[in-house]
Symmetry: C2
Subunit: 67 residues, 2 copies
DNA sequence: ACAAAATGTAAAATATATTTGACATAATGT
DNA sequence: ACATTATGTCAAATATATTTTACATTTTGT
């Protein structure tokens, strides 16, 4: 499922996917894929994204519906 | 660096690395490596570990000192 | 002291995250 | 309408997470 929390947090900082990608040192496609969903990034990248957006892991990457 | 939060949370539930590994559907070595540190698990596995131990992502997998 | 369980660690194989390059479409500003 | 930026998506290549097998050491219980 899509990661709308991430999309919203990025929008709140007026950052493009490319901006965020550069801040995190990954490719734009990776950020796009994470927002799109059905992707499984590493915790290190998640932390990097959280730092760039000033959010916590639970705020951006928690999911309840995943058995 | 070692993940002592994880080690402590597991100990608090009186679980062996193998117990936790089975609950998360991964190998014992993977859990061992994560506790040992210098490992970079996927967010999906982190969530699985958090559910098994009743903790949040920020409690078990946040790191301040990672530029 | 002994046995059993738990942990630490390593090398080779496999699965999968991420990159690169590329192209198409949607959105935005002038 | 036009140019520019942002987004969605794909296939092939590369990097790395995870498994499997295996063995050594430590810890725990009796």
């Amino acid at each position: 499922m899509k990661n709308l929390n991430l999309k919203a947090a990025r929008a709140a900082k007026d950052m493009s996917q490319d901006d965020l990608a550069k801040l995190c040192g990954v490719s734009r496609q990776t950020i796009n894929a994470i927002e799109k969903g059905d992707y499984n990034p590493t915790i290190k990248l998640c932390r990097s994204i959280c730092r760039a957006l000033g959010k916590g892991l639970d705020e951006l990457f928690w999911e309840d519906d995943e058995e």
